[in-house]
Subunit: 248 residues, 2 copies
Amino acid sequence: MSTRDQRRGLIWSERAPGERKPKFTREQIAKVAIEIADAEGFEAVSMRRIADELGAGTMTLYHYVRTKEDLMALMEDELAASILVAPGELPTEWRPALHRIAISSYRAFMRHPWALTSLRGVRVGPNAMRHVEQSFMAVANAPFDQQGKVDALGIVDDYVFGHAIRVAENAEQLDGDDARPMRAMIKFAEQMLATGEFPQIEKFLGPGPRTQAWEKFARFMNDTGRFLRGLDVILDGLEARFTQRPKK
Amino acid sequence: MSTRDQRRGLIWSERAPGERKPKFTREQIAKVAIEIADAEGFEAVSMRRIADELGAGTMTLYHYVRTKEDLMALMEDELAASILVAPGELPTEWRPALHRIAISSYRAFMRHPWALTSLRGVRVGPNAMRHVEQSFMAVANAPFDQQGKVDALGIVDDYVFGHAIRVAENAEQLDGDDARPMRAMIKFAEQMLATGEFPQIEKFLGPGPRTQAWEKFARFMNDTGRFLRGLDVILDGLEARFTQRPKK
DNA sequence: CGCTCTGTTCGTACACCATACGAACAAGCT
DNA sequence: AGCTTGTTCGTATGGTGTACGAACAGAGCG
């Protein structure tokens, strides 16, 4: 190898000749979009806004992405990366492994609540596939048959996703700096209760002035403990299914 | 009562004097919006489109609704009505009752898949409250404490919602008349698999030509049986939680 | 060095969106 | 018949995604 090659890397990591280096990268664009959504909500994410943030013309983005839909797929996969469990940290037992993945997903969703309602899924990117791989890994040693394994993964994923999305929606109202929506909702609920059509709800809330009971209830719904208890119930159910009837 | 009052109904069902009858109703508007979404997808629902369908001017809608957001709340509550179990048909035992409600919700979601991804919730309308009432009714006789009851409802609701939303997203691609998105996804997945980074997924799919294995897999994910099995697992878990440790 | 090629950037234009504003209309009353 | 006011809706504004094609600039070559 001659000296003039010293400062160059392996051929694979070098750009092929004749290929101009673009100013931006897809990852960079996706990250900026996520930052905007985190800071100002998903509806603030527009092609113009992203381009401005990057100091580029709006149409420049369309060189990296065919449609805004594609860009959202990039955002989604970028977030999918953050639900991956660090390699080596995945327990070998199926139950703690599933538990670990579920918590990791839950945390990621809580960090970017807007993603749950705004990014419509099924655009499996590289990181989403890694998540699937990791999930299969989690149940690889589980005493379930093929169908049982997929069922188990599906149930946990569905629960985590469903829970997260409902909590996220709730939190948007609960933690907003504007308390009016919450007040309006309580007022409406009280009106409905006054009709007497809802004895069970009334019984649950108890008698007397329930101005705080409502908010307490809302906070309870968003308690992480509730998520964990539900997760345990589901894992219990999966375990029971196995011990009760090993061969279906 | 004099004869001239004969043809009039009870005072309560009469319009108060001085109140002009509007041409449309909120319910009517919401129903039209839902029809459009069912027929052409949610993105086809615009204020102009709804108004056209009703034979009204666009701005007329704003007399019935403050914003489009409000209109979506109306749509949501209209759909919430369809997940209500007919009164009298709700079993008294908590497990079949929860099962019944879950299935009813699942069916409603399957009928209007777009609603899951497009209508962001927490706008509890009258019908949503009736659903909550019905849910509390379902667990009224269950041997859980207060927290346990709410937990149980939450877990089932979360699972149903999470499952439905993922199936709905899947179905959009699976049942679309355009098979290209599906093919593109398979092609991409195969490329990823070729890297050897996904041994678990490969093991699951098995060797050889898997052109059909993919679609079979997708169909399996959307099988109603999978939903029901998951529901049973969760109800098992809830039941176990009770029999194992009656007092918490 | 300048020329050419082409990948990359982006200005302009269009169709569509939600909706603010205020004018026009008509139903029910006196 | 005239008035009041709830209801309808035309127009206009500022936003959106993106099609089109012109302008720019980096790399290779002579």
